[in-house]
């Protein structure tokens, strides 16, 4: 589904991703763990198409299409979804209206008529319950005055509304209390199918108790340095990132 080969990305003079490679097949859940500043959000942003990053070399294919050539909206319509680490607040636009525009853009892309008001409302009600998001949030300005946990739940709600093929979750768990974490994880698990894939970026192993990954990758200094199954995450949690650094130094 997603093939990243030898991706090199810089911002300004600074090289962030260095020969980064990763392949994700349909239905797989991959977790990426790594210390702060190692380039996890950069990877997520580059996949979603954020402008300020410079792709120096390498390639990214999504279902055989060169993703790097698509605008961010075309990537989203193709089925890539990014749950932001820091979702923006947008005064004056309600989540309801935002989702109406997004859902109808997708339906148009798929050759479907816009959803009528009633069906849209039903869809919203169904999906917001997955993340236990109170109705009142949907008629408020996007993320405005939301707590950290509410913003993250709103991201997962949007993901549920758009039903992407590949969802990238950028530290959706960071800073959440255990209830919010469980809600977010349930949201993700309820969307897991044989076709949908997930790239779960996290700083902590804890999330992976709830979203059980098929693969765990350790990222350090712009690339993946170690890959294993879920036990690798436990090992990481126990020994800390220094363990990885030492192993790397020893090699």
């Amino acid at each position: 589904m997603l093939v990243i080969r030898n991706l090199n990305v810089a911002i300004g003079e600074k090289k962030i991703l260095k020969d980064f490679s990763l392949t994700i097949n349909a239905g797989e859940v991959h977790a990426i763990m790594g210390p702060n500043g190692t380039g996890k959000s950069t990877l997520a942003s580059v996949l979603a198409g954020k402008a300020e990053y410079e792709v120096e070399s390498g390639e990214v294919f999504f279902e055989g299409v060169n993703l790097l050539e698509l605008t961010p909206d075309a990537r989203a319509l193709a089925g890539v979804f990014l749950a932001f680490q820091y979702p923006v607040e947008i005064p004056g636009v309600t989540t309801t209206n935002f989702m109406k525009a997004a859902v109808n853009a997708k339906r148009k892309h798929d050759g479907l008529e816009p959803l009528d008001a009633k069906s849209f409302l039903q869809l919203m009600n169904e999906k917001r319950q997955i993340v236990e998001l109170d109705k009142s949030y949907l008629s408020r300005s996007i993320n405005e005055g939301f707590s950290g946990g509410e913003k993250k739940r709103n991201e997962i709600f949007q993901m549920a509304m758009l039903n992407p093929k590949l969802a990238i979750l950028d530290e959706t768990d960071s800073g959440l209390d255990i209830d919010a974490l469980r809600i977010v994880a349930n949201g993700v698990n309820s969307l897991r199918t044989k076709e949908n894939s997930f790239l779960v970026i996290t700083h902590y192993q804890r999330l992976l108790n709830y979203i059980v990954p098929d693969f765990v990758h350790i990222m350090y200094d712009g690339k993946i340095v170690k890959t294993g199954d879920k036990s690798l995450a436990l090992q990481m949690e126990e020994k800390g990132y220094d363990w990885v650094k030492e192993e790397l130094a020893a090699n």
Binding site: D73, I90, A102, L162
Partner: protein, 388 residues
Amino acid sequence: MSATMINEDFRTRAKAFLQTNGMPTSRDEEWRFTNLRKYFTDAVAPNSTSVELPAYYHNCEGNKIVLVNGVLDAERSQFDNTIEVTNTHPLLGSGIQEENYFTALNAANYTDALCISVKGENQPIHIFHIITKAEFVFPRILLSAKRSSSVVVNEFYTTSSTANVSAVIEVFLEENANVNWHAIQHDNGALNVVNHVEAQVARDARFQYVSLSQNSRFIRNTIQARLNGENAYASLNGFYQTDGESLVDNHVLIDHKVANCESHQLFKGLLDGEGTGVFNGKIMVHQDAQKTNAYQSSKAVLLSETATIHTKPQLEIFADDVKCSHGAAIGQMNKNEIFYFMARGIDEKKAAAILNYAYVVELYERVSDEKLKAYLIEKLKKESDIDF
């Protein structure tokens, strides 16, 4: 309408003022960023033969007053007998605290004033300005809102070719009166208007003003509210949009003369092309005006590299126990917000349209006449290609 003698005193004073004062230049502090000569040229455009009334004339309910080149068109006007309409008024001219070139020009040249007195609760009053000639026209309006009365005034401009307007509006609010005034300055791009509005607000009275200035060539709004009695309230608001070479200049003044009053100013601009916006917002708090609450907020978004905005908040505070705040923000379209939309599959053009709409609609929502508000928002949505 009863014909009364026009108050010659203030006319004579205005003529004398014009003897010694010409059209202001940019050396005049009040006109620093606004080059009048660029917009009011001597070239006389052909007069329009017919100008249609705007669609809302046919949609609205309540009182309708049509002013053709500033003069009442009795045939197309209709109003309840609860409002009193005359062509002059004892207070005429007394609502202008400080004469300036345009108030004097108007005083010296207007033919008939539109003077409205209201008491009790009233149906909205719609004033339709129809401009059919290129020479300067001088609408002169006075509203006297009696004790505890309430009224909404909705004002519209329609022109079909070049129009040059110098309007003066005096509003007198007696104790506990409530006036909501909406100036809908949408046009076909040919309107040049200098609009002077001055409200005298007595104790417990509330004056709210909303201007929506779009698709015009040149607009200067001088909006002044003088809070003369305790617990008076004024809220002055405006949205302005410029494109091409157009200019909108809002000069706003809230004059806190006595204690315990509250005022708000919110102005937002959206500037494109080579358009220019000017916002000058003054809050004056006199020595006796203790416990004043005064708030001002000004925002402008520049959509092009060639658009310009000049903003100047002016706080002159002579009392010591007051709460005053002001904020001015100037920005471009927020890239992170656009990206958030695009990451959800919404294309860039649509994202910008939705964000602009959200920015603008805040001022539309301040229109307190529900019917007019719904009409304007519906129109805005159509123009902005918004389908929710």
